[in-house]
């Protein structure tokens, strides 16, 4: 029996996703290099790290706008709309599947298909990342590129310090998200299934 395949990831999404992945990787590597810079650390020059980080940040903003407009002018935005009634139950079901069900060879409670591209956990985290964490990181990043726009002090707290703390906290969240994202992408029928789908655009219709 041949598998029914659906086009889950059109070209614009795949291109955006690829660019986004590269930029996030560059931002994480250069960000860590700057955050933990020491006199003896020679694996990346500070000014090089700053230049790559800033350039990647600007490109990420452009890429984000592309993603935002893409969602606005296609139906892709629907996948990011969380239905609040029963949200926690669905999240728990999916979490339980990842924590136990997957080992017990249970069926995925929310199979992927053309109508549902993300399971509830994916939907929750992707929406949180793309519409909250990433914008916060971008805004704080731009502010640090133009520190003159940052308020010097507010309620005795230095503006730049607060901005940096928020930026770094967001970066840690993105880093952890990336690790989990890369791992969960191996949880298709085969470890490579989701990776292939992200390249070809086609994914098996698990809804049957």
């Amino acid at each position: 029996m041949t598998e029914k395949k659906v086009l889950l990831y059109p070209v614009w999404i795949r291109l955006w996703h690829l660019l986004n992945a590269l930029l996030i990787l560059l931002l994480i590597i250069t960000g860590i290099s700057m955050l933990y810079s020491t006199l003896s650390a020679t694996w990346m020059r500070f000014d090089v790290a700053v230049t790559i980080h800033n350039t990647s940040g600007v490109l990420l903003t452009i890429s984000y706008l592309f993603f935002f407009l893409g969602n606005l002018f296609t139906t892709n935005w629907r996948h990011y709309v969380i239905q609040l009634p029963g949200m926690w139950t669905r999240l728990w079901k999916q979490f339980r599947y990842y924590a136990f069900g997957v080992f017990l060879k249970e069926e995925c409670p929310f199979p992927i298909g053309s109508k549902r591209k993300f399971n509830p956990l994916q939907q929750f985290t992707y929406t949180g990342m793309m519409y909250f964490i990433v914008p916060v990181i971008m805004i704080t990043g731009w502010a640090m590129m133009f520190p003159e726009v940052i308020i010097d002090q507010y309620l005795k707290i230095a503006g730049f310090k607060t901005t940096d703390v928020i930026h770094v906290a967001g970066a840690f969240i993105v880093f952890i998200f990336l690790l989990i994202h890369l791992y969960f992408a191996t949880m298709g029928k085969k470890p490579s299934t989701h990776y292939k789908a992200m390249i070809t655009g086609y994914h098996e219709d698990e809804t049957g």
Binding site: M34, L35, S37, T38, L39, A41, R45, F46, D47, V50, Y98, V102, F103, M144, P147, E148, A158, F160, K161, D164, V165, V168, A169, F172, F175, I176, L179, I180, Y183
Partner: protein, 319 residues
């Protein structure tokens, strides 16, 4: 009753209030006992013009006081030498007017003439400052043109770095010493040939140039650190100036040994930030970071990697 009240007000107005003012004046005079003696000099040198008697006529003409001979009296009494009388440093013969022209040739004292071996100022390490200065590029200049006084005006100099002055005010004060010569056409020997724009243009390799200029001093990069001296005085050649960003943007930032050296040691590792002494008034990426945020972040990353490892192992085992 009313008469008593009015009498009280009158008494206060006529005697007590002026007595208070006089007391304040006396306190000031007590603080600056040199004021009266200095007034003799400053009545001319504190002004833009001075009266010069015309020989044998009994008349005077007003002459312009040269810029170099003019003293800002407010800055003088605020400065570190504000308690001195003029003749502590200048010849007593200056008390006669018109001055003897030969007095112009008098050798002016340098810092060490007064401060060498002085136990009262031992903590300033003047001898080490002098050693550092002698190694610096400034020491190669003609000593008649360049001396300690070229940067530290003896009539207004104050120890900005050892006070509670905020860092940006300190940076402005100290950088003005450099800029006073290097962007000032009045000093052709040291003038770099352009205004502030030229200085900015020469530092375009430095990201956020103006931001750096506002927050750090020229000597942070253009002077060699000596731990024995609070403010580095060994000004190096421009080729030897610091150009590696990590010299400042790292946990072992040189700013801790220069700009923030005076801040109390105990303030250096508090408030939950690495090098919090810097983050109190500024923020240097690479040198500052939140200890708590870093710990939480690293623990979460490690937990995530461990979790993935355990999950993968169970998946492989149960395959």
């Amino acid at each position: 009753m009313n008469i008593r009240r009015w009498f009280g007000i009158l008494l206060f107005g006529c005697f007590i209030l002026p007595a208070g003012l006089f007391a304040q004046d006396e306190a000031q005079n007590e603080e600056f006992p040199n004021k009266e003696e200095n007034a003799l000099c400053l009545k001319c040198h504190g002004n833009q013009v001075y009266p010069m008697p015309v020989d044998g006529t009994g008349e005077t003409v007003l002459l312009k006081m040269c810029r170099g001979d003019r003293i800002d009296t407010v800055a003088y009494y605020k400065g570190n030498h504000g308690t001195f009388t003029c003749t502590d440093c200048h010849s007593y013969e200056y008390t006669t007017f018109p001055h003897n022209p030969n007095l112009r040739l008098e050798q002016m004292p340098s810092c060490l003439d007064c401060h060498d071996g002085d136990p009262a100022v031992e903590k300033y390490h003047f001898e080490s400052i002098d050693e550092e200065y002698r190694k610096s590029g400034h020491a190669n200049l003609d000593s008649t043109l360049f001396s300690c006084w070229s940067c530290h005006n003896p009539h207004s100099f104050r120890l900005a770095v050892r006070t509670d002055i905020n860092i940006s005010a300190l940076v402005k004060y100290d950088n003005s010493m450099c800029l006073n010569c290097h962007v000032n056409p009045v000093n052709p020997d040291y003038y770099l040939g352009g205004g502030l724009d030229l200085i900015v243009a020469k530092h375009t390799w430095l990201p956020k140039t103006e931001n750096h200029f506002r927050n750090v001093r020229c000597i942070e990069c253009h002077a060699k650190i000596n731990e024995n001296v609070l403010v580095p005085h060994n000004i190096v050649k421009k080729e030897d100036a610091v150009k590696r960003c990590v010299e400042c943007h790292s946990t072992d930032s040189r700013l801790l040994h220069t700009l923030y050296k005076y801040q109390p040691q105990q303030a250096r590792q508090t408030k939950g930030f690495v090098n919090s002494v810097i983050s109190g008034q500024g923020y240097v990426v690479g040198a500052n970071r939140s200890i708590l945020l870093n710990r939480i972040g690293i623990v979460l990353v490690i937990c995530t990697i461990l979790g993935i490892g355990i999950h993968t192992t169970i998946r492989i085992i149960l395959k």
